[in-house]
Symmetry: D5
Subunit: 121 residues, 10 copies
């Protein structure tokens, strides 16, 4: 598995235009793909980021480039969703955030993983 | 970026017919377009206003004319949604308000921004 | 604008068959039309009544006849929704009620108005 | 109107397999028909039962047979929904229950009635 | 009815990659079939597992194999849903869990059963 | 089984307002019910009439009353659809007609029957 | 019933910008209302015009004003659809045209009428 | 693989009530399951029969029982669809028939097989 | 109105990779906007191109830039759809092509225009 | 661009179980990804194969493995769809075939490519 700190460098931010107000940003990324570490087969999913920015917002193109780095990475559903949250929190430092991953069916089963974060916890 | 005070002049109001009651007005504006300040390319979105009026209600045709003023304006998703809320609050002075912007996909990512306001805050 | 008391006479009621229990009645009326007082053009909408009856329930056919009285009436979205709630409360005297009006698009904008009432307020 | 006690005899129950746990059972019955007592015309609706069983669960086939007994019964929307709840509570004695009836349009209006019950009330 | 302890042996687990965080895992299993003990006819349903893992997560392929063991098992809707929850809790020991079963129509009626569990209860 | 000639008397017609033109009339009747002659259980379906009128059109209220006569009639899917076509042709004498019946599921199977007629055949 | 020639005067046309090419224009008019001549109750429907223009195209605002003239007119479904086609052909003189009317349910039945025209017939 | 002649015995027929007319019967069977001969894993699908009867129609309950015989049968998608058509033609002898099988996803791929038959070929 | 030859220069092409085969390319462009020449108000629509390429295919980014040139252009629905087809045919020289424009509602009416072209005509 | 002959080796076939009959097989592959040769960015699409087999059918798992070989391949929409058809025809030799590719939006535009083949041409 690749080094997470390395992946994080791809994420860029810009100044929140309204830091005095709590408001919500939602990014839907339906084109996520990684690799199952057990079978070596590609996994396909949709990622949804929902967050309240603090000082900075995530820059959209860098978010796309960051997600593409998982294209040939072997990693399980549960692990990748938690790792993406960790990277997002480390770089964007949001007041609150949710990352949801929705995967295409495998063996007749379809899975979703939802991770939430609050700066107050 | 154009002067915001100037844009606000386009918004008109009329007397709330039932100011003694808290009730909700929702306007869906699916034909919003502005310009990405980075690429110069047009952005397309839908705006939804939901508010509890106080002394006045926003006049629908003026809301439409106000939104059209962004047609050739270069402004980011997060900034334009907050600016529209600021203009709306300045002119309509609602008890509560939500402005949600829903944008068409760019680079495979689709974004929504939601700003809320309460006169009590 | 027509006299409201006059319109109310059209609404009829019948005894609530279970007054000892709080339960909810919902009537969807998708065929509402009135006239825009500004342009003289017809407006089209759907009305939804949701209420907890007290001693009486509204009789369905009379509700239909009552709504038809607005067919050639010039009245704004916000005003007509509040007026219908006032008439409904005056005649049916519900424990709680919500009236929602959902209008077809005008000038590219689509509007909904939601008024709520509680006998306890 | 037929005798309610008589109808109730049709409802059968079986022992709740997990009485120590609060869990929810939902039955959708889209094929309900009764008769409008005013016009003699048939009414058509869908009934949804949602309940937390206590000592017994309702047997599905008997629920179907019970509902069929209303086929030629003249009874109003509000009355039949409350009566079905009364019968259900009398026989199944649930911890909590909701009965919702959703009717096909009459005179351009479409109605839903929702009745809730709690053994604790 | 088969021995439950025996079925449980099919369920396998792996270490939760983020045990310090409460997050939610959802598995949709639309291909469940068992047999009605009364008529001997097959029943068809969809199972949805939603849980917050504690020390371990359920392995997907083993969950599929476990569910297949009910293929020729005679068991009622209410009983099978509760039994699957008991097996899931015994092996996965989640912080919280919900099992929902959604069945195809029988005799014009369609049923859903929802069981919830919390380690804190 | 009731006498078909008798049922036909219920159907009424009115003069086609544009007999010189071939045009299509479609009536959707989602509230049909009859009885299964084998089990005695009610069947529920939707009937769709599509026809090119010749000298007369079917009167809507009489079509509704005609369909209600099957409410307590024991008759199979295939037979009732053909019989309704025979009655419709006998009374309305259309240039062309299609009758489609769409039934709710029984034993996990859902059936549609489609009968077509042309005066030229 | 009002004089049809009179109604036709409301329809306006403009020069077809590409008369050398056969192409299709479709107008959806979901806000049509007229009155049932039998019951005096309002009818509500959607009209769809699809045509290949010859020398002229129908002007949209005049089509809207024309349709509004039926607002208080007593006329049956079949008659109004044929009359609108007659008016349209008389003024717009299209190469081909279809007028479809789709009505909201009455007495549990929902109707559509479709009239087609070809200049070559 | 089981003997096909044996399976056919399960299919029963009844006399076509309108043999003089070509009309269409459609049966949707969403609860089909068989076994993949390669992996031993269950396959799940929906079968749709569409046919013009000649002298007889297939009896619905026997069709259901026939399809259940494949529950533990190892057979590929393409083979089972053709075999079911062969059995159906052998017993029902329709004028025309189509059998379509629609399978749930396996390995990210979803398959449908469609076989048609005509007595005239 | 701008000079059409000028607009065409924006459209770029690339060599068809399979010119020996007739195949179909479809481009959906949901973000089209122009200006109503009568009211000066913006119009919003979706354009769909469907064509069989001959020697060249249209380059996607240039198609996008071409469509953006209409952003502040005053032109009617019927005219702009025909003009876009003329430009497309002049530059791409397809074997066959269809251009469909689907516009958002104005004054309660919603319009679609469909233009087809064949090199053989 | 990789050597096509090389990719074809991945495709495997099995004997058509009913070669005497023309029937249709449809495979939906929603998880296709390749790389844009111009920007180096990944493209995402869905591929649909529809064919009438002759002597052999394509084996599903090999079709999946074949499509995965494009994961890091730089190739345009039009070229990859034609190349996949060429490979499919070379190995499976169907009587007829259609390959449709449906791509996710890029720059606000969404594209579909459809290639058909017939052994008789």
């Amino acid at each position: 598995m690749s080094n997470s700190a390395d992946f994080r460098e791809t994420l860029e931010v810009f100044d929140n235009p309204s830091p005095s107000r709590d408001y919500t940003i939602e990014h839907h990324c339906p084109e996520f793909t990684s690799v199952c570490p057990k079978t070596g087969q590609p996994d396909y999913g949709k990622l949804v980021f929902t967050y309240i920015p603090d000082e900075v917002c995530v820059e959209l193109k860098s978010l796309k480039m960051y997600l593409q780095r998982f294209r040939n990475e072997g990693i399980f559903y549960e692990a990748v969703t938690n790792r993406i949250m960790d990277d997002f929190v480390a770089v964007v430092k949001p007041r609150q955030a949710t990352v949801e991953s929705q995967w295409t069916p495998r063996g007749g089963l379809r899975s979703n993983i939802t991770v939430t974060y609050s700066a107050e916890d």
